[in-house]
Symmetry: D2
Subunit: 332 residues, 4 copies
């Protein structure tokens, strides 16, 4: 149950009510708002006069639900806006990992050429083996920051575990929580205390319900700027790396008020399919795409098979504009 | 291994060679063609002079592979063509089940209004419970035939098991093998002996490799007109009925020479998501879509939750044209 | 809802009531019993006086449920009994396929030596490729019948599709419906009209609910002798062929009145794990096991990797007795 | 590739060689051992004279593989030993969460009564919702420590994220890394620097290959005491919470040198099935079991449905001894 208190209710009083209701108290849109466990279905009469609006919910997908707020949230990333009534589809691109200054500079130049505003690249890589490239770490973050300063990009990069979350919050414009870290309470709770936008990737073994409840950890921590990212489920099919869940994306569009970004590159894991899938994702009418592109995919230190080369990406970026246009949206 | 014999080799000789190679012999494009187990990697020298072309394959996805024939097959359904160089996207629509003459007539009128040429509807339903509606059976087929005669549609309907395969072959223009019947050797082998187009739906628990090998049962039986249909996998996610596998569709486009049709209605199982998914499927650049539409979904005797009503479908059909146009294809 | 009519109600009247209730009517334990869709929750007052017992059910798992009949059904296979209060664990063994008289004779001799009463082997194989061994067909069935006559075994063999169902019913003592044929209405409906025991294997992509509802097709056809077989689910894990679902077996033991047989050989797909898994299955306290054993697994024409050789099987059979004994059961 | 250097090679030289080979260097059984990426298949001739043994491996499952060390590792938990040649099956039991001193004291008394040496209970709970009980945190750890001091138990408890890893290492005798934290590099890397035993639970969406590679992060950090725990996969079947993967357990027994513990309680998620499953797990011949038991499951603050009550647990513990005995093992 979500109880929005009247804006005349002060912080101290809000916290008192919260304690009595075993609720979490956040300050959102100039009001104190209390979130109780969803099992609570009624507000005690004695608090009625202090409440503006009470929303009873079926389950613990609360702040993220359209049942509470029907419009998609607007997320403002240093002036670049998605969600709300913008009809913008944010194209985020860049290599899997930062490998060197030369490499990330080439990626940045490509984005600049194509008027793309958001650069992605990983510094702390959640690799599956300890015996392979683990990312450039803090040095990588600093190279990203250099690109931001030089080109004016927004930067998105991944926090691998709670030990680097402060660094990522410092350097990134959008904090990416990866699929394998999605349940990490150390990260989720810390991200609830900033207001920087957080792109939360769905775990490949995670139900939609659990995914949205992870978003609730951030939202109920006080950060309203959460973006959902679907990047493929692990299924029995192994010809492709994962199975992109567009049915799930449709469900999130229907039931959640959070913007949605899709990641076809990690889903299929092979460059041959990325253009068709990226066009499909665009036609879904979601708020953005994450595409991996590398100056020379064959020598990439991670995800070599799925990154597009620069020419492939140029062609794709053009065709995405046409698809977006056909459904009344704009690639930014 | 596929051995295409010279067109001077007669049937009797072709069969002799087939027997020696433990191969299946079909007549395709005016030549006898032998398909051995893929474990056979070399043609004995003594047959070399009789062979036109020998294609060694990695696995038993043989006749359906681009490794053998690189171009997508053209399928001609009484003059309506898909695949090859057509750039056509065939929009197939209709109700889940034939329920009455009045109902199927309403569906037919809608299709006629929208210039749609292919009507789908089920007569023998593979229901999961014996205690619910099982379909109209042969009476349903006759109603479909009536619509064909009246409106000039092509008719597609499902064969449930080997006991009705003769009826379906007689009445349908495209024989649909459903997801639950996909491994049915009685159906597959019989469909190999006709040349009517067969739409083979992928089982929801079926790998791409197995799916293509089921298509091989039909192709190696002598019927070259097989269309693949992806309709959703069964995964751990149950907010939607199934998980549409567009990564799998991308793989099939890359590795198979068979046309591909996608079925977003059965995949998600809920009408709210069908329009977005149908646009995504169209943007994938595949050869067709199957959409369920019903004059009054609420009272439908099967799949009530996923069928669009007529107004929703009209709006969708229009937007699909725009998306198809954006990628250089045409809805037919 | 299941309505058991008084045993004074005659067939004609039973059918009249059935028609009015849109119910299926079977004759079971000397009474007419009607099964309505589970959506029906109340028996009209006018029929109350003719009903002995009315059981309202949550879903279409009806005749198979403990909610209706709490005790496990006893299945009598020519005098060999499982289920009920027997505490018997039936060990069924034999090769994947009948390959020759010599081979099946060797298998039969092994079973005889170990006092095993039930021989399994396949004649019509549901192979995934048309280019490999498809089974010996009717000739194989005749070899099985020869072994039965010679050794007094019960024979279990698989029906692949509706085109051989008559042959299998004629030759088999237990009709096996394989995982890929589990939804085959042609087979299910025909098996409802015999009273021979039917071993129904769960499809690898089939939920427990659907599985039990397939059993309902046979039970509601009038055959009370259905045995459930769990043989592994298809999951994302591919180091083993399938994932044996013992949690599902526990659920079936709790909620269904049908005996349960487990098939560890097909589940793991590799001989190394079969003994440990077979002991685990025995310790579950189920009604039987299916184990593949072959005189020379390396040259087997199908499932070569998972069949035990004769020595491995002898050792296993002994250890199964000890495990069964530890939980108060007996291997037969 | 694993290169075991001669015991005459000193640390400094070992590190030099490691650097040149891009290898990780650990000190194990009185020798320096280098682990290169598995892609490296040959040791340069110039190092041959310093190497004792070189093991080339197929993939990055290296230190955990039987291909390197064929015998199961012995893990000594303050004198309680599993693995190796012990034939011990360690029964670990206790409530899901520590809820109060009274509750954990009752659990402890039950274990004492049954001569069970290892108490499990969670303090930092990785809950799926922010609006429900999150565990007692550090206060819970202190209660566990009190039970250890009073009864002489070994204590196992879960680290939720990298922010409490120091506390858990301080208080626990076995550090449990939960299924949702399995990929957490912050935890894995820190656990590599202690020598306390680590029980690593397999993620419910994690392949065996990935699971073992996560174990490699700990092993290659220098901690040889890793125990694998299978606790159920997430599959399409939702009648039970997860699907216990005993085929996977069989694979781990065959290919890994790490001891294996199974967790039937979390796998099925319902108390009714835990006894049968626990007996099945015991019959697999693994090194231990984790069972949830609570003084009053109905009021448990987490996992209420799956915890046994004390009487159910007493009965179970007895029957496990019989099953273990039947396969030559001993419950400790």
């Amino acid at each position: 149950m979500i109880v929005e208190l009247k804006n005349t209710v002060a912080e101290k009083r809000a916290n008192e009510i919260a304690q009595e209701l075993k609720a979490i108290c956040i300050h959102y849109e100039r009001k104190y708002t209390l979130i109780t466990p969803s099992a609570t279905k009624e507000l005690d009469a004695k608090f009625q006069s202090e409440a503006d609006r009470v929303t009873v919910l079926n389950d613990d997908m609360q702040l993220s639900s359209r049942a509470w707020k029907n419009e998609t949230r607007t997320i403002d990333i240093n002036g670049v806006k998605i969600g709300g009534t913008t009809n913008n589809t944010l194209l985020i691109a860049g290599p899997c990992s930062i490998e060197s200054e030369e490499q990330i500079e080439q990626s940045a130049a490509l984005l600049k050429e194509l008027n793309i505003t958001t650069l992605r690249a990983g510094a702390f890589k959640p690799r599956t083996s300890p015996y392979t490239f683990q990312g450039m770490g803090l040095d990588g973050l600093k190279l990203l920051a250099k690109m931001r300063d030089k080109y004016g990009f927004n930067i998105i990069t991944e926090v691998r575990d709670a030990t680097q979350v402060e660094d990522i919050i410092e350097y990134a414009d959008i904090i990416q929580i990866g699929a394998k870290s999605m349940y990490d309470h150390g990260i989720l709770r810390r991200c609830g205390k900033t207001t920087k936008p957080v792109l939360l990737k769905r775990g490949f073994g995670t139900t939609l319900q659990e995914f949205l409840q992870c978003a609730e950890f951030i939202l109920s921590g006080g950060n309203p700027n959460v973006i959902l990212c679907e990047r493929g489920l692990r299924t029995f099919e192994t010809k492709t790396r994962f199975t992109l869940d567009l049915c799930g994306a449709a469900w999130m569009k229907q039931y959640s008020n959070l913007p949605i970004i899709l990641d076809p590159s990690h889903a299929i894991g092979y460059a041959y399919g990325v253009p068709d899938l990226a066009r499909a994702c665009t036609a879904m009418g979601v708020d953005g795409l994450l595409i991996e592109v590398h100056p020379n995919p064959k020598v990439a230190k991670s995800d070599a098979s799925q990154q597009l080369n620069h020419d492939e990406f140029r062609t794709l970026a053009n065709s995405l504009k046409a698809v977006a246009g056909a459904i009344g949206r704009k690639i930014i």
